[in-house]
Symmetry: C2
Subunit: 153 residues, 2 copies
């Protein structure tokens, strides 16, 4: 993905796909994030996690989503400031994420709605899927974005 | 909310409401989070933010959601480990969140589905709304939870 020039609504097409780089979650990051934002025992403590549904220490789903956001921003897919998230639909936590897992995101343009006459922004819905190193989709979600249309000359 | 004793699916009722404590987002936390997880210029830099849709530095929506998670965990509403998030529907970013804003969460039980015969877990959907200090709902979403049913004697 070439960074730099702005990308307008008209530059996206239905079915466009992009794949981000990867990020590996360290145990330290998982525990630090959980301590600050999701202090449930099974995200913090091995003994408590052993007794939980996932049998071992797992990452907060909100950390997975935050890392996915960073990967998407760094990919350059949503470059420039003419893109604003307005919501997210159908977020599904499909499999646990563990310290040491390596994640990446695959996205696809699902829906494009032109800007109404006289308005600057149209809408785009994308399907985001976060995969781990084994090819398992751990989280899927459908962000709704408000995207600037190309300025008329 | 009394901490300690576990809470089973049967302990929740349609329309049950709870309100969390408050948390104030510092400018330092907003920028540190954005640098690590949402490095878009309008979350990092005053000059870039001034030119953005929100006119000044705003917090990442993922920080707002992470802080909401902490407030909910600390409220004790979802105590014990017999509750697992399976997804979230209809997440809407309704208003920007700025450094210095004080947030709290209000939740309501929307839907309860008993555990199928022979299964340990039923399902619960709750409506979460995050409010700022002016009473503006900044984010709303509907977590889907898998909740342990009371063990049969």
């Amino acid at each position: 993905m070439i960074a730099g020039s702005p990308r307008y609504l008209e530059d996206f097409h239905l079915g466009d796909r992009f794949v981000t780089a990867e990020a590996t979650l360290s145990r330290e990051e998982c525990i630090a994030f959980a301590r600050q934002y999701d202090p449930q025992p099974f995200h913090l403590d091995d003994a408590a996690a052993a007794k939980s549904l996932f049998k071992k220490l797992s990452a907060s789903a909100w950390l997975t989503l935050a890392v996915a956001m960073r990967l998407i921003v760094e990919s350059g897919f949503l470059r420039e400031s003419g893109v604003v998230g307005t919501g997210t639909d159908e977020m599904r936590f499909l499999a646990p994420v563990y310290p040491g897992d390596t994640l990446h995101v695959e996205s696809e343009v699902l829906e494009l709605i032109p800007a109404p006459a006289g308005k600057r922004f149209g809408r785009m819905r994308i399907q985001n899927r976060v995969f781990n190193q084994d090819g398992v989709c751990v989280v899927s979600y459908i962000p709704n974005l408000s995207v600037e249309a190309r300025p008329q000359p």
